[in-house]
């Protein structure tokens, strides 16, 4: 990891680049700095704190935030008095670690790499660039990023939501959408930033939570674009349950009222009346833009930029730049939210991985793990490490007293305090103490095991003792945080918790972690674009892949598509991809195949498929679900039969086939959200707005005199697609917002189709006689998909598969070894399906390339003597780990499937089950000692 560094030059070619890096001096020795903070406390120079959006100051010697990685201070050479004027030197005086080095110089480093991934990100729009809202003058007008800091517990007001000018608790907050987005008047800001609608909804919901229900939150918008997975539900919740007001109005200026500190906003409401309303805080929902640094980097790497200075990529190769071997992901190629950025990252890793697969493992270093010390029969020797977490714990809990207390507990031979128990230097020291003191149990009293237990367990492993001889106490959340007003009680509680942990630690036993070999084949289910792209990447990375398709043909929905929104030819791409699948050595395509049975688990799946009358079993280590979804077809038979009515997909097909119905049309209507955003299907199908605009432009190209009306609720051509929307309007396509609450009537006749709706602007009924009605129909997944049962993966209420984590694990399932991509995950356009397919392949390869997996030692075990064969454990386990052994009739636990949740242990009425690492004796030992 090279911080404070930038790329200065690049030479070479894909597979073998030389990259020159310039590392700026930090003026603090990273090996010596213990991040105690003494330097920043004494530093006399205050500078704006960029991390807290400049709402407060920091010192010239700083860490960006308390959890920064690396947690090492740095001196800001622009402001440091010593470096700029040669005076001061305070930090050097107070540093206990002798880490300050004013003589530090910049370094030039040359790196040899096979590929380069650019993830330079984006920055928020600075409203100072165009003074419309008084930002910078009126303290109560803040950007959305500043508002995030205002809400944050680690922010400038400690998580107490107040008005910046006078720290008064706000009663009314307004959000103004599209600040620095969808605005051609601002230079290079014509696109939609794609993330602001959803984050404004989130901020409004959080603000309401902070205020305890007494806050009036209003969002002023042009279109609400909540088109990501489950975003629409969140929007509905904000609107219908949380009472967030949504006002469709573009606000052009804000008038501050000096006396009250309020900001006045004038707008026209739904009834067409002019309204003036005052707000305590006005949040500008600022858009995302390309950074100057990103642009400079792209120039050094020789990459092509689009007109907004984002890195150019194509729909069929979503993370590849025009230069082979250089990949771009995340917000440096277009405004993107967190899940799309994370998908891009994994996709870039997948594509870079396929380029370099022959060199896999050639340059990695293997961690040296010493042989595990046998502690059986040894006297108990417990070490207790108590963390100060800077001031986070020590600011409340009397840490030295806890350390002293621990020394007197039975079995404890060593106890000390650490500034940061988790820091790299403490880990090294902890390892040394374990060896010097011959410790055979370790207790760490610090923060939460959820995030930090694996780190300490690794330290135990590298110090030569079994990682399960470890117990962690959370004296941060459970003591210093919740009892911050009562230091004494917090300290007493910390001592009690340490006492309990020591009691349990004395009873801990080493647990083995069985090693599981990973079958090196992959199975991809679904032969659409997502499935084929996954299979393509996996095979290019060197893994044999079965591609199973239910239909008799590959291609899925893409067989009907015409062009991408960028105008790329989908049929040509599809033919090439299909041909690759049929000829690739490492891909076996199984057409007309149904999955009838699945057995096994991560690393060793056995999937039985039926092709015609023939059944065969495929063995594979990983599974990728690319089962797709389909277009919702109208329920009314009159609409299906009418030659004047088509769905969005049928129109695309019509373009491909040269459908004669598309000739000689004079009027066409596109009806948006057909079957989407309704109570039965409360999600946005994401692709239809852009697809209708694209199709409308295609019709207009064929017949420029044609009248085209797009009847919509919110137009959602997000990101750079906004350009296409603008083009459509300049070409004379009419966009009419209709009132969804009022009746909508469609009447197909022989010659015409009549569409009647209520226009929201004029509040009048409008009837259009059209030659063609295009229904922008919803994308619907298969509800109750049998694969969900087979692979133990969940579907949401709409029938889309549920990923392991919405933001951070968007293509993984909670079930190990199973991944998801494409429409089966959520509605999305072809470029995003391809990126997700490549991401799923990359995530699968992280398992395949390891060749074997350790399985957790914290698993349930059956004592068959006590088992009464009742089967409760089998029915209660969410992971299908227990089964009844056919021979003995007793329960057995498949340890590779067991997650150690303990449900079966608690429900076993015969006391036959126990959970390793959480034995009854250990738990009772903890209880008995307090």
């Amino acid at each position: 990891m090279l911080t404070l560094s930038e790329v200065t030059a690049l030479k070479g070619e894909a597979g073998n680049f030389v990259v020159s890096i310039l590392q700026h001096p930090r003026y603090v020795d990273m090996d010596k700095c213990i991040a105690c903070g003494a330097c920043a406390e004494k530093c006399p120079k205050k500078v704006p704190n960029e991390y807290d959006a400049n709402l407060v100051k920091r010192k010239a010697i700083y860490v960006q935030y308390a959890q920064a990685v690396p947690l090492k201070y740095a001196i800001d050479p622009e402001y440091c008095i010593k470096l700029t004027k040669g005076k001061c030197g305070k930090c050097e005086e107070v540093c206990p670690a002798d880490a300050i080095n004013y003589e530090d110089k910049e370094r030039h480093i040359d790196l040899n790499v096979g590929a380069v991934i650019m993830s330079a990100g984006s920055e928020t729009y600075n409203p100072l660039d165009h003074d419309t809202y008084g930002y910078g003058k009126n303290k109560n007008v803040v950007t959305s990023l500043e508002f995030e800091r205002i809400l944050s517990a680690s922010g400038p007001y400690g998580g107490h939501m107040v008005r910046p000018s006078d720290k008064k608790e706000p009663e009314k907050i307004a959000w103004l959408q599209c600040v620095g987005s969808r605005d051609e008047h601002l230079e290079g800001r014509g696109y939609c930033s794609g993330v602001c609608c959803t984050y404004a909804v989130k901020e409004a919901m959080l603000a309401k939570e902070h205020a305890g229900g007494n806050l009036d939150a209003a969002i002023f918008y042009m279109d609400i674009r909540t088109n990501g997975k489950d975003f629409e539900r969140y929007y509905n919740r904000a609107k219908d349950e949380a009472g967030v007001r949504f006002v469709k109005s573009r606000v052009t200026n804000i008038v501050p009222d000096k006396e009250s500190g309020m900001s006045l906003i004038r707008y026209v409401d739904e009834q067409g009346l002019r309204v003036e309303e005052a707000f305590d805080i006005v949040v500008l929902s600022v858009g995302l833009g390309a950074t100057a640094e990103g642009r400079a980097l792209a120039e050094k790497l020789g990459l092509e930029l689009n007109r907004y200075n984002f890195v150019s990529t194509g729909s069929f190769k979503p993370v590849e730049t025009a230069t082979p071997g250089i990949f771009a992901c995340g917000a440096c190629q277009a405004p993107k939210d967190i899940p799309s950025s994370v998908v891009d990252s994994s996709a870039a890793a997948g594509v870079a991985g396929s380029l370099l697969s022959e060199a896999r493992w050639s340059l990695t270093r293997k961690a040296q793990i010493p042989e595990e010390r046998n502690i059986r029969g040894d006297a108990t020797r417990i070490g207790v490490f108590v963390c100060c977490c800077g001031t986070n714990i020590a600011g409340v809990v009397d840490v030295p007293a806890v350390v002293e207390f621990a020394k007197g507990l039975p079995g404890v031979v060593f106890s000390e305090q650490n500034m940061f128990s988790c820091s790299q230097d403490t880990q090294v020291k902890m390892g040394e103490v374990i060896q010097e003191q011959g410790l055979n149990r370790v207790v760490v009293a610090a923060c939460t095991p959820k995030t930090h237990e694996p780190l300490f367990q690794d330290t135990l492993t590298s110090a030569g003792i079994n990682k399960y001889l470890f117990e962690m106490v959370n004296i941060r959340n459970q003591c210093s945080w919740v009892h911050k007003d009562d230091a004494e009680a917090a300290t007493v509680k910390a001592k009690d918790l340490v006492r309990m942990a020591v009691a349990k630690a004395g009873l801990l036993e080493p647990l083995p972690e069985p090693i599981l070999n990973v079958n090196q084949n992959a199975l991809v289910i679904g032969g659409g674009v997502a499935g084929m792209e996954t299979a393509k990447n996996l095979s290019e990375q060197g893994y044999f892949t079965y591609l199973v398709e239910r239909d008799g043909k590959l291609g899925g929905n893409a067989r009907s598509l015409h062009e991408t929104w960028r105008g790329e030819d989908i049929q040509g791409y599809l033919q090439e991809l299909t041909r690759e699948m049929e000829t690739a050595d490492k891909v076996e395509v199984c057409l007309g195949a149904e999955i009838t049975d699945v057995d096994g688990f991560v690393g060793n799946f056995k999937t039985t498929i039926m092709q015609g009358q023939e059944s065969r079993t495929l063995e594979h280590g990983v599974t990728i679900m690319a089962t797709g979804a389909s277009e919702h077809s109208p329920e009314d038979p009159a609409l299906i039969e009418s030659s004047r009515v088509m769905t969005g997909l049928q129109l695309q097909q019509g373009f491909n086939k040269g459908d004669s119905r598309l000739n000689g049309l004079s009027t066409a209507v596109f009806l948006q959200c057909y079957g989407s955003r309704i109570p039965e299907r409360p999600f946005c199908s994401k692709v239809c707005c852009t697809q209708s605009i694209k199709s409308a432009l295609e019709l207009k190209k064929r017949n420029p005199d044609m009248h085209i009306y797009v009847v919509y609720r919110d137009m959602r051509p997000y990101g750079l697609r906004e350009d296409l929307y603008r083009e459509a309007r300049t070409r004379g396509i009419s966009f009419i917002r209709y009132n969804f609450e009022k009746e909508l009537r469609i009447e197909p006749r022989d010659e015409k189709v009549e569409v009647e709706f209520t226009d929201t602007v004029f509040r009048k009924q409008v009837t259009i006689q059209a030659d063609l009605l295009v229904l922008a129909s919803a994308i619907v997944p298969e509800k109750e998909n049998p694969l969900s049962q087979f692979y133990k993966v969940a579907q949401n209420e709409d029938g889309f598969f549920v990923e392991a984590h919405v933001k951070l694990r968007p293509v993984d399932f909670a079930t190990d070894g199973v991944f998801v991509c494409g429409l089966a995950h959520s509605p999305k356009p072809i470029d995003e399906s391809i990126a997700q397919a490549q991401a799923a392949a990359a995530r699968a390869v992280t398992l395949l390339s390891a060749k074997s997996l350790p399985v957790s030692g914290t698993v349930a075990e059956v004592n068959p003597l006590n088992c009464s064969s009742c089967g409760v454990c089998v029915s209660i386990c969410p992971y299908s780990a227990p089964r009844m052994d056919e021979k003995t009739g007793k329960a057995v636990i498949e340890s590779t499937l067991c997650k150690g949740c303990g449900l079966c242990v608690a429900s076993c009425r015969s006391g036959a089950l126990h959970l390793k690492g959480f034995e009854t004796s250990q738990i009772m030992g903890m209880i008995d000692c307090v």
Binding site: N16, Y51, A68, S341, T364
Partner: protein, 59 residues
């Protein structure tokens, strides 16, 4: 210059995107250099308070 492919990769930018790419590359057998312009990694996501819809802490 040799035409042999190298098993290492450079990632420029240490925000959530760069970090995820670094983890996936490292976990699939490649040596990763992660270059970040500022003094620590984390990027814009570390500045966010909570993330929707779960209200998970962004940190």
């Amino acid at each position: 210059m040799s035409t042999e492919k190298l098993g290492s990769v450079l990632i420029v930018g240490g925000g959530i995107t760069g970090m995820q790419a670094a983890l996936d590359m490292a976990n699939s057998g490649y040596y990763v250099y992660l270059v970040e312009r500022t003094s620590s990694i984390g990027g814009m996501m570390s500045q966010l308070d909570k993330t929707f819809p779960t209200n998970d802490c962004a940190m």
